[in-house]
Symmetry: C2
């Protein structure tokens, strides 16, 4: 079992209560709870896992980005989620015991691998942590609730706002670098890449954002929120 070396990402990782001592100083000794079995560095487009694989690990993203997807019966790719630094993959696979989807790195990505059985043992030892995992999975249920919005502008505006929240604040000011393609965004939002492109262009014309290939900056988040809420 690899010792965890806490770093700047760890402090904003959803799993930090499981890895780090509550009183841990930021000069970062090894973690007390060795829940991380190993690290994995993934190159762009490298698979993290395949569907039907046995579910054995949670994966925490240290840096980088991952998408999960499946192919529907007619072969079309459906994106189920994007995951960024500090976020956890795996919750949705607990109940089947199998990976529900495929997961692939969108850019160079460092992953902490956390065996589920280690994790359960930790919960047994420290029942106080139970509440935290229930908190996290509860949160996961609401991810992407904006996908239900009726029209394309609403969904895309909500998606951009969601990204801004999930990226770290430094990136928010100067602009974010989207790790996924227009196609990916479209698959996630049930739109075509063309529609995504058209609406991004429209948002830019209306001075709501600047978009230059993968570089995105939100100029008027409040206005985007209005659109997301269906108020304009």
């Amino acid at each position: 079992m690899t010792s965890l070396i806490p770093n700047s990402t760890c402090t904003r990782c959803q799993f930090s209560p499981f890895c780090l001592e509550p009183e841990g100083n930021s000069s970062c000794q090894h973690s007390v709870n060795n829940v991380v079995k190993q690290y994995r560095m993934l190159k762009r487009k490298e698979m993290l896992y395949l569907p039907k694989n046995k579910f054995q690990n949670f994966y925490a993203i240290q840096h980088g980005a991952v998408k999960t997807f499946e192919s529907d019966a007619s072969g079309k790719e459906v994106i189920r989620g994007f995951y960024f630094a500090g976020e956890i993959l795996g919750y949705e696979s607990i109940y089947t015991g199998r990976q529900a989807f495929s997961a692939i790195a969108l850019e160079e990505t460092l992953i902490c691998e956390i065996p589920y059985h280690h994790f359960l043992e930790l919960l047994q030892d420290k029942p106080k942590l139970q509440e935290h995992i229930l908190f996290l999975i509860s949160q996961r249920i609401s991810v992407g609730s904006y996908l239900n919005a009726i029209n394309a502008e609403q969904r895309l505006a909500a998606f951009l706002l969601d990204l801004a929240i999930r990226f770290n604040s430094a990136e928010k000011k100067s602009g974010m670098c989207l790790p996924m393609s227009r196609q990916d965004i479209g698959c996630y939002l049930r739109l075509t890449a063309e529609t995504v492109s058209r609406i991004l262009t429209r948002f830019q014309k209306n001075k709501l954002i600047t978009i230059d290939h993968k570089h995105l900056q939100l100029l008027q988040p409040d206005q985007l929120q209005q659109i997301a809420d269906g108020l304009s």
Copy 2:
């Protein structure tokens, strides 16, 4: 704290591991774990809780049906979920500590009220139950994944199949009685009531189902599955 009187629904309730003894006989003594604080009988259209209410309880449905919904910024009702006998409400509210939505009975409904803090205490006492709650919440994440399907027929076919699975098997053979309106189905599936009605009529013409007001029977579930999968 009201003693739980296990009945036929309890055995197929998602929370039975928390209420009933593993070795419990079916002649049904009182439960050993008194997690149920009280029962509540709701009339049709009676509210179970309001949004922003403090999250304090899980609710298990003994019989009946409940819908959760919210009103978007422009005032339109958005249905977030339907819940039937044996299912649990509340998972999505753990992380905010507030009810995310409104919940209302669709028909006469009997509810078991399970205080969250009692529930957590039980988990501390019996850590083996941890795995079960993780299992259940994990399952909850995938509910309604068919909402992402592109077209109306796919979503509605998937919805009907989902209902058939969640209704008990006796009802499946003879047909199910839909507790919700066309409008509700539409709100849930991002369709208008008119579109729901038209497609149900089309399914009936094609001998996939019989539909007579609230009485629904699936004649060709396999064919519906094909439609849900986008294969026809």
